[in-house]
Amino acid sequence: MSSVIDLTNVSRWYGNVVAVNDITMSVGPGVTGLLGPNGAGKSTILHMISGFLAPSKGTLTVAGKSSWENPDIYRTLGLVPERDSVYAFLTGEQFVRATAKLQSLPEIGAATRRAIDMTDMADAAGRRISTYSKGMRQRIKVAAALVHDPEILLLDEPFNGMDPRQRIHMMDLLAKLGAEGRTILFSSHILEEVERLSGTIQVMVAGRLAASGDFRAIRRLMTSRPHVFNIRSSDDRRLAAVLVGRPYTNAVELTGKGLQVRTSDFGAFCEQIAVLTRDHGITLRELLPTDESLESVFGYLISSQGN
């Protein structure tokens, strides 16, 4: 797969704060998800790719050219920014039409209608954008970004504010555009969005690239990481003895408040813990997974890369 977007040792800092740290990645045709918690540097990456931020260090090319101070790049690139500000005094149709004119398209009316139809906004296109819901604003921004039929589409948190039906429609649209051979790169902090839509992902944590490649492989890496549970039961000491002999148990520790168990197989442990306690006549009073945040998952990916 030939790459369309290439970043080589790209860093971006603001004063003494590093927002993006030495990223090297390539993005080719199809749908690629840029996954990471808030503040990971995803928007900074998208701003640099779209030519709205200069890298402090490294090289970045889009279709072989630098995007910084190069407005011609927008003939082949469409951008859907995260920020909700659009020309609210225009109707949706006027906004998309104005974008078509700014692109100097030959058939402005046809291009406008096509983009509005693609985003399922035909019914609301005659209304002022100021009356739109957040999800509708997102879709009209996507319509404007698609009006010139770009080869590359960048979307910053495109599903924010969309209801489930709109979300599914947008996912289907992006999947279709990707299947047509376009390069679609979107950012998200929600694992399920990326899982559903993209075969390839780039995972960012704290300005660094934590993982890159096929989603399924990274997902396996995520689920096979050690999980920690805090347990309280009617007999913690006996439960510890029972768990120690199980293949999915990595470590058991008796704490002042109960047991802390580390397991390498999240699924097997969750299935077996109830059966084990019942069979041994132990009453399970509390079972708490610790630190299941996305940050901890990403943190694990970074540490596993380093090993």
């Binding site: 709205f52 407005p71 927008y74 500000s85 974008t99 700014l102």
Partner: protein, 239 residues
């Protein structure tokens, strides 16, 4: 160079908001003041020069130009909607020039035209009105370039513009002769004074100096604004 779509968006964004009422306030004050003085002092000779020259060029023109000039592009940069305009292949020079053109025309409409109307309403001041109108038209153009540039360079363009108008032009320009070299109000007065020489207009610059400096400042401001807009960066949040 001039992009009609950018002009349409700018015009609707600028005139469509309530801020347009703000544009009209100084103009209404000037015309009402002229009507009141005409009724109360119909034979006086001095007040038309003072009201139209001092108030018109020290307050009406710069303040109207400041509100409009910093708004045509600065408001879009502040609220983030500029990104939709800038994520298109339109040349940055065309964006700046079109915004400047719209700002200059609106300033003429809300400052130079009221100056002409007030001048025609004042007694015995037909030629003075024409001279002030011409000066205000030139001032609208130069101020528009300066304030559009300021809005691209800084997010505090209105505050800096007020300081420039009140301190530099209002105070230093009248006390220190050298300060007039960088005073748009004095360029405008210099042009007006060449058409209708009048001692009370206090133009410290000749016509040729005013025109030459006005052109240099206008072109320089537009070039600087274009260069700055070409390197427009979204304000990012550190990770």
């Amino acid at each position: 160079m001039f992009n009609p779509t950018v002009a349409m968006l700018t015009l609707r964004a600028t005139v469509g908001r309530r801020r347009v009422l703000l544009f009209a306030v100084p103009a209404v004050i000037l015309i009402v003041l002229t009507l009141v003085l005409r009724a109360s002092h119909p034979a006086a000779v001095l007040w038309p020069d003072q009201v139209l020259g001092d108030f018109g060029f020290s307050v009406l023109l710069p303040l109207t130009a400041l509100i409009i000039g910093t708004g045509v592009l600065g408001a879009e940069i502040d609220d983030g909607s500029a990104i939709h305009l800038l994520a298109t292949p339109v040349r940055r020079s065309a964006v700046v020039f079109t915004k400047f053109a719209v700002a200059a025309v609106l300033t003429m409409l809300f400052a130079a035209v009221p100056e002409l109307i007030a001048g025609l309403l004042a007694p015995h001041s037909g030629k003075l009105a024409l001279a002030l109108f011409t000066g205000a038209v030139a001032g609208s153009v130069i101020y528009a370039a300066v304030f559009v540039m300021a809005s691209v360079l800084t997010t505090r363009a209105i505050a800096l513009g007020l300081l420039y108008v009140l301190i530099w032009e209002g105070l230093l320009g009248n006390l220190v002769g050298g300060a007039r070299i960088l005073s748009v109000a004095h360029y405008s007065l210099g042009i007006a004074n060449a058409i209708y020489p009048d001692q009370s207009l206090n133009a410290g610059l000749s016509l040729s100096t005013s025109v030459t400096l006005g052109i240099i400042v206008t072109v320089g401001a537009l070039i600087l604004a274009t260069r700055r807009l070409s390197a427009f960066a979204i304000k990012g949040e550190p990770a």
